[in-house]
């Protein structure tokens, strides 16, 4: 692993410069502001790009061109849409619970924003390296359901309420599978710290060196996390052919955009978490003894690796959204409680046994 792309040199230099020029308290404050601004910029850029990407990917699957008028290849289409949403009227809902109604989109977006803090984007490019990073991401991301429930409850709309209750049942159920499938790798790696998990994959990604259980865990993670972020074929919370738009039926303008953006960012976060845990995070792709090949791979910066892998997983998630029909609510819960959860538990026991006997690489 080469140190030439270590971001800690850059961050260390900034830290040293700030501490040399101001008191330690102010230096930390300034750093927090810088991190916040960078994260906000990243959030906006990635969110906008994902909306564009989804429209392009679904266009390819559906024999269409997708957005191709605003800017080169339609790249600025989402920017134009955002400006439109910003300028739209926020329609007040009669007899809605105003406080909760206005609070809900902020909860959803803040929660998805908070998970970015623990993501190891590249070597040294991580805001906080918590020693329980996986737990933190899981715990914070599952708070988003509170926002969805509040949105459905306070909208004073029956469609919204059904959507919110569906979403609650769904997220609470699939949270278990996501956690259990991540636990398999935590047992392999022996740590919950995201940077440790990435470092443990320097000699091979857990997807490849974790035998069949890790592969099964990755598949379960992909299915369960798709359900957790309310995306097709599990998009029951906003099933447009049944509930028009589910929990955000009554939202308009920028408040709707918050839900919309948060949904896409959740997809990014889930993909990033999957990449970090199963696909080696920012580690380059190495093949056994191919020294030359491995060295060339090392020259590609970790940030590029991370981005490529994340977008690969995002593409997978988009691919099956645009191909499969939607499940029914009872089938959705059956899938989780009767198939995925038992599979996860069996998988976990097998992994524990493998690690105990020292049969893994």
């Amino acid at each position: 692993m080469s140190k030439m792309y270590d971001f800690s040199q850059l961050t260390g230099a900034i830290d040293a410069y700030l501490r040399a020029n101001m008191s330690p308290g102010w230096a930390v404050f300034t750093e927090l502001v810088i991190i916040g601004l960078v994260a906000l910029l990243l959030y906006a850029l990635v969110g906008l790009f994902l909306v564009y990407l989804e429209r392009k990917v679904c266009a390819i699957i559906q024999n269409r061109y997708g957005p191709n008028r605003v800017g080169p290849f339609g790249l600025f289409q989402t920017v134009a849409d955002l400006i439109k949403l910003l300028m739209k009227e926020l329609i007040p809902i009669a007899r809605a619970d105003k406080f909760l109604f206005n609070l809900a989109p902020f909860i959803v977006i803040i929660v998805s924003f908070m998970t970015l803090a623990a993501m190891p984007f590249a070597l040294g490019l991580q805001a906080i390296d918590l020693n329980i990073g996986v737990l933190y991401v899981l715990a914070v991301s599952s708070l988003g359901v509170v926002g969805i429930l509040l949105a459905g409850w306070s909208s004073n709309s029956k469609y919204s309420l059904i959507g919110a209750i569906r979403s609650g049942a769904q997220i609470v159920s699939y949270e278990l599978s996501v956690g259990l499938s991540l636990l398999t790798v935590i047992i392999f790696a022996g740590s919950m710290q995201l940077s440790e998990i990435v470092a443990s994959q320097a000699d091979g990604w857990w997807l490849f060196k974790g035998h069949i259980p890790a592969f099964a865990a990755f598949l379960i993670f992909l299915i369960a996390s798709t359900a957790e972020i309310n995306r097709g074929p599990f998009d029951l919370a906003e099933a447009e052919s049944e509930l028009t738009a589910g929990f955000h039926t009554e939202y308009s303008g920028i408040k709707f955009a918050f839900f919309f953006l948060a949904e896409f960012m959740n997809m990014f976060i889930v993909a990033a978490l999957g990449v970090t845990v199963f696909l080696g995070g920012w580690m380059p792709f190495h093949v056994g003894n191919w020294e030359g090949f491995n060295q060339i791979m090392d020259f590609i910066p970790p940030l590029v690796w991370f981005t490529l892998k994340t977008f690969f997983v995002i593409y997978l998630i988009m691919w099956f959204k645009w191909t499969f029909p939607r499940l029914r609510i009872d089938q959705l819960l059956t899938l989780e409680w009767k198939y995925l959860m038992p599979l996860c538990l069996i998988n976990l026991v097998i992994v524990a046994f493998l690690v105990m006997m020292g049969w893994h690489f």
């Binding site: 059904i162 029914r328 009872d330 089938q331």
Partner: protein, 378 residues
């Protein structure tokens, strides 16, 4: 107490009760038009539903009483707009039978080909929208892509794509375009290659099987009792194809099967329509090369007056049996005209077959009945 009074009273009582009622429609993505279903829910489960119709009522039956027979044709387009050609044909056949006009063979062949092309286009749109009801959004673009080819053929010959009003009592408005045969054959060879894609995308999908098998069961008795005709009825084993039982135009000379299934669920209704697409292509293939030469219309008087009496004509549209009952008093306009539209009967079985299912099932089942709302309201 009549049926409608019962419903109204129930409605009022329901309005005051503690049931969790939601209005699916009149503006809803999966009612495919301005239909309102008042659905009573218990959690996710549908207890019962009451269809409210009339949002797009235009009084076509009443308007017919003031129009001549050639004008009526243009009104029938607007009922089931996806089977516009079959609707036209029903009026034309009735007038021709009443006046005992012998239509040229060429007209019969062309009418039958157009019937089947129209049925194909209608089933393609149904397939596209049905997939979308179930959440498979890509089907919509596949279906519309292929339907476009048929509409292009229509446009070339009739100048319009959807409401063509191409039939005229005694024949056709004018002859078909010289390219008609060539393009129809091109389309057939194209669509035979594309139909397997439909099966790969939706028919063979496991989630789709779970969503449609055993859902919305309709027994043969129910189908007959409610008068559910067309592919929806044939999915329950109710043999009701007018093309077989009262053949008209060129149907007596073509060989085709009436596709029947006995399962009676959403999946059976789906498969019947998929099979009908293949069958329609077979029918067109038998006819398209053998269109006889001749006139495109029989000699008709400029003003059509039907002799006093009662007349009845039925045809098979893409959704079932369209029957017209007409009373004439010898004038150039009908005294009374009654349409028995297939969708009206197909809609009212919805409560019977969805009660007890989930909301998602309601969407799937109403999609599988393939309702066209303007045909219900007329």
């Amino acid at each position: 107490m009549t049926m409608s009074e019962e419903i109204i009273i129930k409605d009022i009582i329901v309005g005051e009760s503690e049931d969790y009622m939601i209005n699916v429609g009149p503006q809803h993505p999966s009612t495919h038009g301005v239909l309102r279903l008042e659905v009573c829910l218990q959690g996710e489960t549908v207890k019962y539903l009451i269809p409210h119709i009339g949002y797009i009522h235009r009084g076509i039956e009443k308007m017919c009483e003031f129009d001549t027979y050639s004008q009526i044709i243009h009104l029938t387009d607007r009922m089931d707009y996806l089977s516009a050609h079959m609707n036209n044909e029903a009026v034309c056949l009735m007038v021709e039978n009443a006046l005992q006009v012998e239509v040229p063979e060429r007209v019969k062949y062309i009418r039958t080909i157009l019937d089947e092309l129209n049925r194909l286009a209608s089933h393609q749109l149904w397939w596209a929208a049905f997939g979308m009801d179930l959440g498979a959004l890509t089907t919509f673009f596949y279906g519309l892509r292929d339907r476009e080819k048929i509409l292009d053929i229509f446009e070339e010959s009739f100048g319009s794509r959807l409401l063509h009003s191409f039939n005229y009592p005694g024949g056709l408005m004018h002859d078909v375009h010289p390219n008609f045969q060539k393009r129809t054959k091109e389309f057939l060879s194209y669509f035979r290659k594309k139909l397997p894609e439909y099966n790969q995308l939706l028919t063979d999908n496991v989630i789709f099987h779970q969503r449609s098998k055993g859902i919305g069961y309709m027994s043969k008795e129910t189908a007959i009792a409610y008068g559910v005709t067309g592919p929806s009825g044939r999915g329950s084993g109710f043999s009701c194809d007018v093309r077989k039982y009262a053949p008209y135009s060129a149907y007596p000379v073509v060989k085709f099967e009436e596709k029947l299934r006995t399962e009676g669920d959403t999946f059976a209704r789906y498969l019947v329509r998929m099979d009908e697409m293949v069958e329609s292509m077979n029918i067109i293939e038998q006819l398209v090369d053998n269109i006889p030469e001749g006139d495109f219309t029989a000699k008709m008087r400029p003003v059509l007056k039907l002799p006093a009496g009662e007349y009845f004509q039925r045809v098979e549209t893409a959704r079932g049996e369209l029957a017209i009952y007409l009373v004439s008093d010898g004038n150039k306009t009908p005294y009374r005209m009654k349409f028995r539209s297939p969708n009206f009967s197909n809609l009212f079985v919805l409560n019977k077959i969805t009660a007890g299912g989930k909301i998602a099932d309601l969407v799937a089942v109403s999609g599988s009945l393939d309702l066209v709302i303007p045909d219900i309201d007329r």
